[in-house]
Symmetry: none
DNA sequence: TCAGACAAGTTGTCAAGACAACATGACTTG
DNA sequence: CAAGTCATGTTGTCTTGACAACTTGTCTGA
């Protein structure tokens, strides 16, 4: 990186441009995880800006979890943290991948009128390993919020991705309630862990309901959760 | 507010002191939701600090969702959004308040060397209603990360608040694992829901471990969870 | 009375500078 | 060779200063 790529005539503030540039360099592999990037003083000189401007840029990346500053040592690239996906908060995808669970759509989306959230598409998924059912999930998606869902291929498809790419929706909050139940017709005798979950999309509340069942002796139900970050 | 309460001899940076002071004023009702607080220039004069120092303080509160800055207009108090508190992700505070559960510290923080996270302060909390134990929680806090914890009064005190105000730490991620257990000496026969939780503070991983037990027939264990927001 | 212009106030961005508190590496001494 | 010291480099905190971009209120003219 020999020359500054900052555009001093742009309406985009310099610190944002620099943050974008650094973020890009990192994602392009110019700086590996654990690498120390150039010092603030050096970046300021290279880009012909003041050090506080550099700090504003690196502040942004620190808050995004991309960089970590260590006083006296420098500024380092952090590993990319796995984004919490509220749709597959079934447990971690890793846990399911580790046991090579097979996901099966038991029933295609069916329009129902008497669901927990009114008129909704109902569907059921099963995760199993060698014919042992690890997880059972019933899902209801608001029919008005997700129009014509039945037209989309769901088998072998990530629901989260479909909702994001087709409907341009992404849940930002969820509520979950835990219970222990005695038994389930498909899973057999208990005790079974039941997780009742409601997903919200901004101000659109309760647009997805899900009920999940699993047996905790055979399946380690784990989650990564975060606090809100304004 | 006639006189600055900032201690210029304190090792606590001025901007943190000012942020704490403003946060306190707001929580004490000195500024109502929607109120405009003093201008940055005015605050700087009043507290005999520079404007960038005031901005650092208000930056913190903006990021906490306490304040909102509007260019040209001023800085305003936001409604308190129910913050996901990873410490008391015990269920919602509301659920506990609704049943007027009593929180009792069973043992004060005791320094232990063989805990799940090495040398840590161990403590135990019990939530009960009319002598029925709803919830039992064992907590370990890293002794190096939270030095001299035993010197602080914990009974009837929010752990989350203490960690924030005394140690200026706030967990940003947690991992939780669910299991169903048969019984517990204090809670009796099962099945009981067990939640094993690990809290992370930025790049400082596993600084708090907690294990929580409850009986889901008598206590509705719910959580609000969010996705990360870059 | 209403709309437009202008002034004053406020936040957003940016600079140069300084010192404190730390980390790291090199050198010296036992 | 290991431990201690010192020098250099780096981030953290803080200052004064300036101008841009906006908001809000007031005044004037139609």
């Amino acid at each position: 990186m020999d020359k500054s790529a900052l555009n001093f005539d742009s309406p985009v503030p310099l610190y944002r441009q620099l943050a974008d540039l650094l973020r890009r360099e990192i994602s392009e592999g110019q700086h590996a995880v654990g690498d120390r990037i150039e010092s603030e003083h050096s970046l300021a000189q290279r880009h012909t800006v003041g050090r506080p401007t550099v700090r504003q840029a690196t502040d942004m990346l620190v808050r995004e979890g991309v960089l970590q500053r260590r006083r006296g040592a420098g500024t380092f690239v952090l590993p990319t943290t796995e984004r919490v996906d509220l749709f597959s908060l079934v447990g971690t995808s890793e846990a399911l991948r580790a046991v090579e669970a097979r996901c099966e759509l038991l029933s295609p989306p069916t329009l129902r009128h008497n669901t927990p959230i009114g008129t909704a598409y109902a569907l059921q998924r099963k995760y199993s390993v060698q014919d042992e059912v690890l997880l059972l999930e019933d899902i209801w998606l608001d029919a008005t919020f997700f129009p014509r869902l039945e037209q989309h291929e769901l088998a072998g498809q990530s629901l989260s991705r479909l909702v994001r790419e087709v409907y341009h929706r992404e849940p930002d909050r969820a509520e979950q309630r835990f219970a222990i139940v005695d038994s389930d017709p498909l899973m057999g005798a208990g005790p079974l862990l039941s997780v009742h979950r409601r997903l919200h999309f901004g101000e659109h509340l309760d647009k997805v309901h899900a009920v999940l069942l699993c047996r905790t002796e055979t399946f380690q139900f784990t989650q990564t959760i975060t606090t809100t970050r304004p």
